[in-house]
Subunit: 382 residues, 2 copies
């Protein structure tokens, strides 16, 4: 709980059933740092928030069930109407209200339903309703995602992060909605670079299905007043930890996922080579189905690595799965397949590809590809 920052959630009827509208309201003006999707098709809330150029945020309204993407000018006007209603109900400036959306692309928001739900939504505002808010922004997520970090400077500070996944999760840039709140007085200008680094080191290190969403949003809200130079190091550590925790929750809750696979490519001549090989394996359906089937089919990892579009000398490559060497210098090392299958039947899998070609490395988290991913996505709208 952060003093003066209140959360709420409600079922407004955007979805056929369940919570679908959340809000966060602050007693004081907040700074906001945001990173949005790199997809050329951007959702209405991204275009709206960017145009607003607001310096003082008092509220963010988030809905699930409708992405408000590919809705054009009308989709942006819809947000203006909703902002007007929230502004009146809370008696705050219209331009202090931001938005985020997630759900089906191409459909307009049911503006009237949302506006009618605002009184009920505001009634439940409470500093302790973080879980309610986290649930209201879920789509195919199976659990709410909240991460916390406390640290001491001149006083005790708090960081609270809330995220939703769990499909269209792609590393460049990671797909989801993430909201982080802190009562630490963040020097926004100075911190902008660290913020991007933290995003790169967390949300850009996960992938579920290689799909880059139209709605990706990471926002950090912080108090405007005060200053605590000495605690900045701790704050940066905290932000990195909260983002890493949330990103691991996202990948763990990836659509249909039964395992999280941590892929490390090391011994690369350049970091870019390591990154492209790691990302290529992380989105390879044949590698991901092998993980689902507990099949130590290392040739699939090798084939994916060879298809990464960077130089690769297969005769130098070692492949290590759960600490067991499957291939050395590009050739199979005899291993007990039944035992391997057994140690692959875990929730967390470590795969290391050693290129023996330099000193650079890169790591990324991904999921297996399962029947349930197909089930969820072949019937998401119905």
């Amino acid at each position: 709980m952060i003093k003066g920052i209140k959360f709420s959630g409600v079922a407004s009827g955007i979805k056929a059933e369940g919570l679908d509208l959340g809000i966060v309201v602050s007693d004081d003006d907040l700074n906001c740092l945001a990173v949005y999707t790199r997809n050329a098709v951007k959702a209405g809330h991204i275009l709206y928030n960017r145009a607003l150029k607001t310096k003082a945020v008092r509220a963010i309204l988030v809905n699930s069930g409708c992405a408000n993407a590919c809705t054009g000018k009308k989709g942006i006007e819809d947000l203006g109407k909703i902002a007007q209603a929230v502004s009146g109900a809370l008696n705050i400036e219209k331009k202090s209200i931001l938005f985020a959306s997630t759900g089906v692309i191409g459909k307009r928001l049911p503006t009237q339903k949302i506006i009618s739900s605002i009184p009920g939504l505001l009634k439940s505002l409470d500093e302790n309703n973080i879980d309610l808010f986290a649930r209201a922004i879920m789509t195919t997520d199976t659990f709410p995602k909240i991460a916390r970090f406390n640290f001491n400077g001149k006083k005790e500070y708090k960081i609270i992060g809330i995220a939703k996944g769990s499909g269209m999760i792609n590393p460049l840039f990671a797909t989801m909605l993430v909201f982080i709140f802190t009562d630490f007085p963040v020097p926004a200008q100075r911190f902008a670079r660290d913020f991007k680094y933290a995003v790169k080191g967390s949300f850009e290190r996960i992938t579920v299905d290689g799909e880059c969403s139209t709605n990706d949003t990471v926002m950090l809200f912080s108090k405007k007043s005060g200053e605590d130079e000495e605690a900045i190091g701790l704050f940066i550590e905290g932000i990195n930890k909260v983002m890493k925790d949330l990103s691991l929750m996202l990948v763990k809750d990836g659509e249909g996922a039964t395992r999280v696979i941590h892929i490390t490519v090391k011994g690369a001549k350049k970091k870019d080579y390591a990154e492209r090989i790691a990302r290529r394996i992380a989105i390879s359906p044949l590698s991901k189905t092998a993980f689902f089937g507990c099949d130590p089919n290392w040739g699939r990892f090798m084939a994916a690595a060879g298809d990464a579009g960077v130089p690769l000398n297969p005769e130098k490559v070692d492949i290590i799965l759960q600490g067991e060497v499957l291939a050395k210098a590009g050739l199979e090392v005899p291993f007990d397949e039944m035992r391997l299958k057994e140690i692959m039947n875990r929730k967390e899998i470590e795969l290391v590809i050693d290129l023996h070609d330099g000193r650079s490395s890169f790591d990324i988290y991904t999921t297996d590809l399962t029947y349930d991913y197909i089930k969820i996505n072949a019937s998401y709208r119905s």
Copy 2:
């Protein structure tokens, strides 16, 4: 049937059961044009054939069940031993024998089993045993893939193409083994460029799972003697048709596929833009699961297009599915969802993305992503 070109197939024990070894033997020397995988990890047969630099081919031995990839120098030596045995049995030069393999990566060929099977394999050699050969090279394919084209020049000529799929099928370059035989006297030097164009227009226009194999091989074998300048146009037409036919069989038999989706991106400023958008949609798991579920979820196609890494103005884009306009100028056009679901429940689907930004276009064939793809690939080796 082509006079003097004989086919055979046998179960040699590479697989636990079924046909797994095929051979084609020619009475006369043949020219061979070949294109191999772009994957940095290349199978043993590719390294072996390339090093051979043979000008006169008499036989090609093809096995399924073992890719002979990631097997290093030993894997190449294995082929030398097998070539020695085939050479002795057929009384032809060792260097006139080529190889191709498909199957699990990282395992050595069972050289002794293969050598012991050669007498039985040669016993069934027959100009009419094309189907037997086509079956011997299958892995997860559900039907043998043979395409034919006859045309007249100075005499009647024939083209016979044989292919196998059906996973690790990726557009750059298309993954599979393809063998095409003709009695037309191909002027190899002059035809090399047309050959590559034909490959680009067929096998590089399909994808099943975006996975580039270590073993991709397309080979064209033709008679060395004779000349028929005037029929070259017809021959090129025939090669293009045979390759297109085979590539459509490959995608139709894609692992677990229930539909073939033909994606056309038009109105692009550059052909490269159209190609990258078409390829991005073709490998998008969310688009592919939508096709499986008969879900006219056009936002997923739009999101994939926006993630293609090329300029895109969503406000100009039309999306047309089975002739029905789902989105115009980036916005949804009201459509009857139940009727759309019905017309999506077909074996063949046409998706057109019109960018309204220029005159270039590109088209590609892909499959849906289904439970059976997961089933096949989570248990391929067991």
